[in-house]
């Protein structure tokens, strides 16, 4: 990510915000979660020209104005299928063999 890059108003971006600091979190959670902040990421259209890591405002898809630190311009979807799982590759043939056996 180019942190120096200039993002134009109107661009589709993602922002980050801490909602609750560790001491503000509910007591009813495990320690590992209690020790870290409660964070959110939101996407929307940038209201004013900005640089990466600036505190900015965005307009969300429902028209709400949200504020936070600019972390991504044109955020995408990185999820995929990934490589096949070797341990599952033979399952189909094994089951077909059981069906074919008398």
């Amino acid at each position: 990510m180019d942190t120096a890059s200039h993002i134009k108003a109107g661009a589709w971006v993602e922002i980050y915000k801490i909602i609750l600091q560790p001491h503000e979190r509910t007591a009813k959670i495990p320690k590992d979660t209690k020790n870290i902040p409660f964070e959110i990421k939101a996407r929307g259209f940038l209201l004013n020209d900005a640089y990466m890591d600036d505190e900015v405002e965005i307009r969300s898809l429902t028209g709400r104005i949200l504020s936070g630190r600019l972390i991504t311009a044109n955020p995408g979807y990185q999820h995929s299928f990934g490589a096949p799982i070797e341990e599952l590759l033979n399952v189909g043939n094994e089951l077909k063999k059981i069906l074919a056996d008398n």
């Binding site: 870290i36 964070e39 959110i40 898809l61 979807y77 299928f81």
Partner: protein
């Protein structure tokens, strides 16, 4: 502090965002009038079918899984191996039975003049609410538990976020923790949107059409109701709605069995465990707490009350579900799930003990896609250091080791002791009273219905619990 301020306003926000005055149904600190709460919505089963028809929800195909049935018979004693049927709910507009759940809420929101709807969900329900909202021209906000403190997103939840955004919804992605509910209430309060909670009467009534449809579909095909219906159990809505729908069609001999993926040892609010679950729903992390205390949900009185309807509850392992997902694709030509295949995996094991003339029905499937697929989950598991291998599925350890069976005969439906779950339920009740004499006849009636036990048994257990 803002957190307490919002949480203390919970009931006021609920009333405003749902239009339901839960106080009306209160009988005591223990009991409430469940059926009156459901009936007061004013929607009959036929009304709901018509509402769902308007947005192309429901009327999904019922498929006989002939090859899987044949496979069961190959590995069962002579005469054993029930026929397996599957209701292909992935044929709903957003790809799961959750469209049924969302449809009535969105219809209600639209007819009451709300500008938008909101739901807290990391699952298929988000896509369903977003899709139904798009169909009705309402704004939609979905709030998800989406990533851990290292910023690693759970791939299945990323796929749901993508689907929600594809339907034009605003998605808020949160880190791990129950404070998501605080943010949910805060935004509901600010926006005056409708609360499309998973646990309102609208949500549960929307699923009743699924129970009615499986009764009708099978009756049309085979002239009878299913002997057993297996339901993937998480928050309890799927079990409750399906069972109620079957009962409305008088299928009262059909046995209701819930099934969850066993995630014992993993904590649902733990940042460390978040990406070690390999399943985002249909697991014991929701299934057990929501069975023993339904009113932990984001509404005052939960309309999903699984202990009222569950006759048996079983678990299967992570490795068994991934294995069965592969089997469904390769033997039946249906790429579905993975999480929705939990009940299929249990049904496969249960069918082996049933007679060949019997019918076991799996009541849902869900769409498959990038992130929402065994390979995506298993590649993440490997990245998290979880071991993956073939072997005895009993060696599966959630968060540490996923074991795919070496042979289909190794797949087991492990029974969960419902008596133990009821005991936990009664212990929660006991926190509100000091002695069982404090309980009125109305309380005993409620507790009896809420746990499928007679009043004498309820009294016995309550006495024992209160002595402790």
């Amino acid at each position: 502090m803002q957190y307490d301020e919002i949480m203390n306003k919970k009931n006021i926000i609920m009333k405003k965002s749902l239009g339901i005055d839960y106080d009306k149904y209160k009988i005591s600190s223990i009991a409430f009038n469940y059926e009156e709460m459901m009936a007061d919505t004013g929607y009959s089963l036929e009304d709901i079918k018509n509402i769902q028809k308007e947005t192309a929800v429901g009327n999904t195909p019922l498929v006989e899984l002939k090859h899987l049935t044949e496979l069961v018979r190959k590995i069962s004693s002579p005469g054993k191996g029930a026929r397996i049927f599957l209701k292909d709910e992935s044929a709903n507009p957003s790809g799961s039975f959750k469209d049924r759940r969302a449809s009535l809420s969105i219809h209600q929101a639209k007819s009451k003049g709300y500008k938008g709807v909101m739901a807290a969900t990391s699952g298929n329900y988000g896509a369903a609410v977003a899709s139904q909202a798009a169909k009705k021209g309402l704004d939609c906000i979905i709030i998800q538990e989406a990533f851990d403190s290292k910023g690693i997103a759970q791939p299945e939840i990323t796929e749901k976020a993508r689907a929600c955004e594809a339907y034009g919804a605003e998605v808020l992605r949160c880190s791990v923790g129950p404070e998501l509910f605080f943010l949910f209430l805060k935004i509901l309060d600010e926006t005056n949107f409708f609360n499309a909670s998973l646990y309102t009467p609208y949500s549960i009534l929307g699923i009743e059409t699924l129970g009615a449809e499986i009764a009708d579909d099978l009756y049309t095909k085979e002239g009878r109701f299913p002997d057993v219906v297996v339901i993937t159990h998480a928050g309890g809505g799927n079990v409750t709605g399906t069972a109620r729908g079957l009962l409305k069609r008088n299928a009262d001999k059909t046995k209701i069995i819930g099934a969850s993926v066993d995630l014992a040892g993993l904590h649902m609010a733990s940042d460390t465990d978040f990406n070690r679950k390999s399943f985002t729903t249909g697991h014991t992390g929701f299934g057990i707490p929501f069975a023993v205390w339904p009113d932990r949900a984001d509404v005052v009185y939960n309309a999903a009350r699984p202990l009222r309807y569950l006759e048996e509850y079983v678990t299967v392992t992570q490795g068994e579900v991934f294995y069965m997902t592969q089997a469904l694709a390769e033997l039946e030509g249906m790429e579905r799930g993975p999480a929705g295949n939990t009940s299929l995996t249990a049904a496969f094991a249960l069918a082996r003990q049933m007679d060949q003339q019997e019918i076991i029905l799996v009541q849902e499937t869900e769409y498959t896609g990038a992130g929402k697929h065994p390979t995506a989950q298993l590649n993440l598991a490997k990245k998290m250091g979880i071991k993956i291998k073939r072997g005895n599925p009993q060696d599966n350890i959630p968060g540490k080791q996923i074991v795919f069976p070496e042979h289909p005969s190794q797949i087991k439906a492990e029974p969960v002791d419902l008596e133990k779950l009821r005991l936990s339920y009664f212990k929660k009740v006991a926190k509100n009273i000091s002695k069982s004499e404090d309980l009125t006849n109305a309380d005993f009636s409620f507790l009896s219905k809420d746990t499928r036990l007679d009043k004498i048994k309820v009294k016995e257990i309550m006495d024992a619990v209160l002595k402790e």
